[in-house]
Symmetry: C2
Subunit: 315 residues, 2 copies
């Protein structure tokens, strides 16, 4: 099966277009897309490499779900509405059953995120996936990393460390289906939360390389520091059952790819966030404060400062 | 040198932003971009794999120039104005001198195309480059593949087959600098021509997989056929000096990656195209006609039908 037949059969499917309408979808030199009036296009590109970002022998449907979720998470972190994505798929060979499974997983996640496949490329080479996610946000309302103010409360959504624990589990059992493993292969982009945080959060990002490292980006961009409380890190019951507390803390601080949102909120808006949290049944946990003193300090109750581990290093 | 230092030093440079202004450039979860009012976003994504699309031991600056030109060519083929691009760079290691050279080549081509780097990703893995090129076009004026009409004249810009010949030369000499090799590593996206063809050409694409194969996309999308004249294929003097005529014809019909535009024009506009060609010193050559009979026939003067070779097969 050649490149064009492959694209036609597995990627030119209505199930992959559950998002906003496209003036021109896949199949031409370019896709043609219309951003609503008075909105900005928000775009993010990510590459996922076999053996680095996922296991080569994971189910292809899970690889697809994971990669698309991770890409859309960047849109969520800006408060953007997901709209379209381009997919570049590089494969050693055109294995139809693999592509079929990949395409099905992609459709599941595309529906979940209401995002449409607009185009892309298939090439021969070592397995890797590059996704270009596009969305929109009203002009001036995107949440960047640089607006954190001294005194803001630092909050995170959901729970931290689950994905890192799930990765450990899947290293031994590729088809693991427990709650922690699912957080690795099927993370949830916090799309609705990101949009709710527009005009509320002063800074926001998604936790992809580990809380300490990622929060560091906000602090650096905003020119401030942070004081966190170790005991306030939100740990799931599954993670606490799976790992001793010290290891769970390590996962929560250092383990990447939870794709939860970490954001800074003026103190007077915390009660609004708590009400939103209850209504949406999505935990939003205050884990510390933005402070004037540069750097990120993690306090371990009475025991004083806790030495944070390092986040993921790509090279 | 870590990922973030690498990006900061080699990719967060003003030389890489010679294109339209960005509301928010590299460094956050997403870039924020504004498409002009009453214009559509045109987007195209391409992956370039080491050993498939370029030689791993080519100068990194040449790899960058080639990849960005090939990506922008898709915008040109729609009649779009290049604006921004995202770059996903996957490398086995963070070799600073390689990245420095790559970044310099990227800046040269970005300036040539007036396109700005908006963001992207660097990851560890087998060398490959994925580029997401974005531009804009007035609503309704993009040139698709599906509008060719019976009786239209089929034209191509520049000359065909040079890049395939250059590839052959570089297989033996990686640092070849002759005119044919340059057409491989430094192709020229026909940006101005693409925009001139708006509201004139009925269909257009760029020749990336070989003339016969690519023209086939126009014919299929438009539901018609073509009759070409072998002797009318534009061959450069360099190609004719380098290769016997039969091999030159093979390169011109089958060799991809010339990134010339192939377009269909109503007959009454051909004289306008000839005037444009003279003014811009860019050859525009009529090579045949769109016909009702499906398929693409190549006529070899008195000798009747010529059997066309096959275009590039990705799998």
């Amino acid at each position: 099966m050649g490149e064009f037949d492959l694209i036609k059969r597995y990627f030119d499917r209505p199930e992959l277009r559950p998002g906003p309408v496209m003036a021109l979808g896949p199949g031409d030199d370019c896709a043609l897309l219309e951003v609503p009036f008075k909105h900005q296009l928000s775009v993010s590109s990510d590459t996922f490499v076999s053996g680095v970002h996922f296991f080569a022998d994971m189910a292809a449907s899970k690889i697809a779900q994971r990669c698309l979720a991770a890409s859309v998470s960047d849109l969520a972190a800006m408060g953007a509405t997901p709209a379209w994505f381009n997919l570049c798929l590089t494969m050693p060979s055109a294995d139809e059953s693999w592509v079929d499974s990949f395409s099905q997983g992609l459709a599941v996640q595309a529906k979940h995120c209401a995002i449409s496949l607009a185009g892309g490329d298939t090439t021969k080479g070592p397995l890797s996936i590059s996704i270009h996610a596009m969305g929109w946000v009203p002009i001036g309302q995107a949440i960047t990393r640089s607006g954190a103010q001294i005194g803001d409360v630092i909050m995170v959504s959901g729970s931290l460390g689950d994905s890192a624990a799930g990765l450990q589990i899947m290293q031994h059992q590729r088809d693991a289906e427990d709650a922690l493993s699912q957080r690795f292969w099927n993370p949830t982009p916090r799309i609705a939360l990101g949009q709710w945080l527009r005009n509320r959060a002063t800074a926001c990002l998604d936790v992809s390389d580990g809380l300490v490292q990622d929060l560091g980006h906000i602090l650096k961009a905003s020119g401030c520091g942070a004081d966190l409380q170790l005991q306030d890190l939100p740990l799931s019951t599954e993670l606490q059952a799976h790992a001793a507390l010290s290891r769970a803390h390590n996962y929560a601080l250092n383990g990447g790819e939870d794709f939860e949102l970490c954001f800074t909120l003026p103190p007077h808006l915390v009660s609004q966030a708590q009400a939103y949290s209850q209504l949406q049944k999505l935990p939003l946990t205050a884990i510390g404060y933005v402070s004037a003193k540069l750097g990120c300090r993690i306090w371990n109750g009475d025991k004083g400062l806790f030495a944070p581990p390092q986040g993921y290093q790509h090279f």
